[in-house]
């Protein structure tokens, strides 16, 4: 905007591990610059979705425009772009970083540097961001800023001499941070008169105005009435609104190179405004898009089924609505013999999957059965035809399979040295390949493994946390497909195969997994009026057998005049409980049984 020349704009983000105080610091910056009054600050602004807040994570990026009068007497526009705080959303993080020139690296003064921080710092460095280390929570008794400074220098290789000591909670160090942003983060460069190039770093669906697109204008300028074009999809729209985020949306005349803001253009579908895409003008289009666009690829799949078959249409509507806002959520109808009609859904990772499930259950009040998460296998059939299998049920019969490849991930683990043995033991149990181990300091190690994604999504992170008393942290990235000797494990209940319980497992582990799965199911399936045999089978071979014995006693409360109503209520409750279970053949199976494969070993 004209009153703020490009030289007085700073675009930055905050990089921090979960719980290191990113949201509190963001709140303080908003408050100190007078962007919002204290009353408006009652809640943390940036993490606004309830599930995110409960888990202390950010899934969607958000932005806020701060105006700061610096010591030189000039007003500066500081655009803070929030980044998603979880490895599942690495790509979104990279797009948010691409919209910035600098980053605050917030490290907890007592916790120190963690694997995820490291991963995000590397991402930031790749984008040539100026990184300002901030050591937060210096007010806490366990704070050791000097130790953390050493970690920042040794683990990350950043100069921590000018690290700012801060207590976002108490507001200490915040003015210094604002000055450092002005002084040390470079102003954006860009040609305000050149062809338009604006990077989409987030979007959401608004039922009145269509998709609201968050952008960083890199070159040129955009205003209401312009016809714009999405360079990846080619879709064209007429801009109906542009504005800045204070953090409420505030329309302005135009947004020029260097600025961060939003635009609306009656876009009906988030698929047409994908994160990472470049917006240009339909006429006088930029020659090339900004670099780095990728289409989000789901890594984890599961089946979602309504417990009550009547809810199928509601589930479809709810998924449709969620997908309006979440371009990385994929879903398509599928049918299970055991569970009826449902959807195969693809997610960026396990957390993404959990968040979507929680939203469906909480916001749309749906009772769901989720099948155990699976990955996508590349199968070559004996007739030479390649097949992609993201549901164990669709695995071709063993004698039709020439080879199977599965996705591997590179996992980086940071752990105190005393837990190295425990971490190695865990990693080895997950078919992983050891790549490297470095001592970052005398008592901190970085270990790198490659392991099948399918092994990582079965509670690897939880196990890592519990075996290291919570001290280890990890990050992962996709490392490509590799051949593996895999087999399909089937589960039979009362003699009938239950397709939704099938799993793909490594041949060497299959019998063992089968035994544990059968054992876990025995614990999860309640006693019924009859005995329920549970069998695990590989092909025709039964590898494990367990039995849920029949109910032994469930009767003999008295039942006279006054008891009838009460007794009825008890029976109704019993019936209600049965309704929440899925009847497969004669057997009633509780929801959590379909996730049993994840609970092995608990």
């Amino acid at each position: 905007m004209s009153d703020h020349p490009i030289a007085r704009i700073r675009n930055f983000c905050i990089i921090a591990h979960i719980d290191h105080g990113k949201s509190t610091l963001a709140d303080r910056l908003i408050e100190v610059t007078g962007t919002l009054s204290a009353r408006e600050m009652e809640d943390q602004i940036l993490d606004s979705m309830d599930i995110e807040r409960e888990r202390g994570i950010t899934i969607k990026a958000q932005a806020v425009r701060l105006v700061h009068r610096a010591r030189d007497g000039q007003d500066y526009v500081l655009n803070l772009i929030d980044t998603p705080g979880h490895v599942d959303f690495n790509y979104e993080v990279s797009r948010a970083l691409a919209a910035c020139e600098g980053a605050l690296l917030v490290v907890d003064a007592s916790q120190g540097v963690e694997a995820q921080t490291l991963a995000n710092v590397y991402l930031a460095l790749e984008h040539d961001l100026e990184i300002l280390p901030v050591i937060n929570k210096i007010d806490l008794p366990g704070a050791d800023p000097d130790k953390v400074k050493h970690e920042i220098e040794d683990d990350i290789g950043l100069d921590a001499a000018e690290a700012i000591l801060c207590s976002a909670k108490e507001g200490r160090g915040v003015p210094e941070i604002l000055e450092a942003i002005v002084d040390r983060i470079p102003a954006p460069s860009g040609d305000q008169d050149g062809p338009l190039q604006a990077l989409i770093f987030d979007s959401y669906f608004d039922s009145y105005r269509g998709v609201i697109v968050f952008i960083r204008v890199v070159n040129g300028r955009v205003k209401v009435g312009d016809t714009i074009k999405m360079m990846a999809t080619g879709a064209q729209f007429e801009v109906s609104e542009v504005g800045v985020l204070r953090p409420k949306q505030q329309p302005v005349g135009d947004l020029a190179a260097g600025e961060v803001g939003y635009l609306a253009a009656t876009i009906r579908n988030v698929q047409d405004a994908r994160v990472g895409d470049t917006i240009t003008h339909a006429r006088r289009a930029a020659e090339v898009p900004l670099p780095g666009y990728k289409q989000a690829v789901p890594m984890v799949f599961c089946g979602l089924y309504p417990v009550a078959t009547d809810d199928y249409q509601d589930l479809r509507d709810a998924l449709e609505k969620l997908a309006l806002n979440d371009a990385s959520l994929l879903y398509e109808p599928e049918t299970s013999v055991a569970l009826g009609f449902g959807f195969r859904c693809g997610f960026l990772g396990l957390l993404h999957m959990e968040v979507v499930q929680e939203r469906l259950e909480r916001h749309y009040d749906l009772d769901l059965i989720a099948t155990a998460p699976s990955v996508s296998y590349h199968v070559r059939r004996t007739d030479g035809e390649p097949v992609v299998v993201d549901n164990p049920v669709h695995m071709p019969p063993a004698n039709h399979i020439e080879s199977i490849e599965e996705p591997f991930v590179k996992v980086t683990i940071l752990s105190p040295a005393e837990f190295v043995g425990a971490v190695m033991e865990l990693a080895q149990s997950r078919r992983s390949v050891f790549k490297s181990m470095d001592y970052l300091t005398a008592d901190r190690t970085q270990m790198v493994y490659e392991m099948p994604l399918s092994e990582m999504i079965t509670d690897f992170f939880d196990q890592l946390k519990s075996r290291t008393k919570g001290y280890a942290s990890m990050d992962y990235e996709l490392a490509g497909y590799r051949p593996s000797d895999l087999v399909k494990l089937d589960i039979l209940l009362a003699g009938e195969p239950v397709d939704a319980l099938s799993a793909i497992v490594h041949r060497d582990k299959a019998a063992n997994v089968g035994r544990q799965l059968a054992e876990k199911l025995r614990q999860l399936i309640p006693r019924q009026l009859f005995e329920v045999p549970i069998q695990a089978a590989i092909g025709a071979k039964i590898v494990a057998r367990e039995t849920v014995s029949a109910k032994r006693k469930d009767v003999l409360a008295k039942c006279y005049g006054g008891d009838i109503t009460r007794k009825r209520k008890l029976l109704e409750k019993q019936k209600e409980g049965k309704k929440r279970m899925k009847q497969v053949g004669r057997v009633e199976i509780p929801q959590e049984a379909f996730m049993a494969v994840l609970k092995i070993g608990e």
Binding site: L529, R552, A557, K558, Y560, G561, G562, L571, Q574
Partner: protein, 348 residues
């Protein structure tokens, strides 16, 4: 106490004379004084309650009239008065023959009180005595249950009502169970207790005619049968329940609430017909010998039993939980210990 009895008298009288259509008097097949502890009554007050019932209802000469007895209360004078007023059956809340367990249950009587009371009742001339027993109690083991059964049988009552403890949310036990403070025997141990009960009763010549009731032939409770057959009944006093004209209604549970509002609110609408049919099956199946009669169901509802509950019946017959015997549907022996699972199938 006097005020309460007076209120009872007023309530009982409201069902006769000008209050009723055609100024008539209702027939009553049985009378049961139970609920709290009617044996707390002074003999004179007991007499007033019973005579009110006789005045305002037409009770047959040999009608079953039961008095519930707490073994800690009552006196030979009370038993004598009860006999004179036509009480011909007593139900004694023995529960267990184990003082520690009685303490846990919060009962104020001891084992000695049970034997003494039964002796007094026999001396007073009662020939129809029922004992209430309980199992599945926190801290109860097989040996203790075995001893309870032996001592109960040694008293030679004509009838037994036996229940498994049902821990319900909101009760003192429920709260403790939620906090994990209750050491319940568990399902398998309860089943063992149940099996022992069934065996000992059979051996001693008692017939199981209802899920939780055993009797010497001819001593089955006529009153309870009314509940199980879904016939109408009227309850008077605090906490008493009634079922009349297909409406269920009840008094306030507290005595003060009852004195405030001595007439219960009767629902405007009868219970839904579906619910009445479900109740007919749930309650009727409890009568393990008779079962639910197809003919009686047809007469009462104008529909066939298997037309309404076809799916549940065929599923349970297939699982060996129900059997069709002549005109009736009955629980199989295998279903008796787990009958709740069968009942739940019939709910919509």
């Amino acid at each position: 106490m006097e005020a309460y009895v007076a209120a009872l008298e007023r309530e009982i009288s409201s069902y006769s004379g000008c209050a009723m259509p055609r100024g008539g008097v209702l027939d009553a097949a049985t009378l049961y004084l139970g609920g709290g502890t009617p044996s707390l009554l002074e003999p004179g007050l007991l007499e007033r309650v019973l005579s009110a019932a006789h005045r305002h209802f037409r009770l047959a000469k040999d009608a079953e009239v039961t008095l519930e007895v707490n073994p800690k209360t009552g006196s030979t004078a009370l038993w004598r008065m009860a006999r004179e007023c036509g009480v011909n059956r007593v139900s004694v809340g023995a529960q267990v023959f184990d003082d520690t367990l009685l303490g846990i249950l919060g009962r104020d009587h001891g084992v000695v009180d049970v034997s003494r009371t039964v002796g007094e009742l026999r001396d007073a001339g009662f020939t129809d005595i029922s004992l209430d027993l309980m199992f599945g109690l926190p801290g109860q083991d097989q040996a203790s249950w075995d001893a309870t059964l032996d001592r109960a049988l040694a008293l030679g009552p004509e009838h037994f009502s036996v229940y498994g403890l049902q821990v319900e949310p909101g009760t003192a036990f429920g709260v403790r169970a939620e906090r994990g403070l209750l050491q319940l025997p568990g399902e398998d141990a309860e089943r063992q207790m149940l099996d022992l009960l069934v065996a000992k009763m059979a051996e001693a010549g008692y017939r199981r005619y209802e899920i939780s009731s055993w009797a010497r032939p001819g001593h089955e409770s006529a009153h309870n049968r009314i509940y199980w057959l879904g016939r109408p009944y009227l309850g008077f006093g605090s906490g008493a329940h009634s079922y009349l004209a297909r409406r269920r209604f009840a008094h306030d549970r507290t005595i003060d609430g009852y004195l405030d509002q001595p007439l219960p609110a009767i629902p405007a609408r009868p219970q839904p017909i579906r619910e009445a049919m479900e109740d007919a099956v749930l309650m009727g199946l409890r009568l393990v010998q008779e079962g639910v009669s197809f003919a009686a169901f047809r007469r009462r509802f104008g529909k066939e039993l298997d037309e309404v509950f076809g799916t549940a019946i065929s599923r349970m017959v297939e699982l060996g939980m129900l059997e069709l015997r002549g005109d009736s549907l009955r629980l199989t022996p295998a279903a008796l210990p787990v009958a709740n699972g069968v009942f739940a199938e019939f709910l919509e």
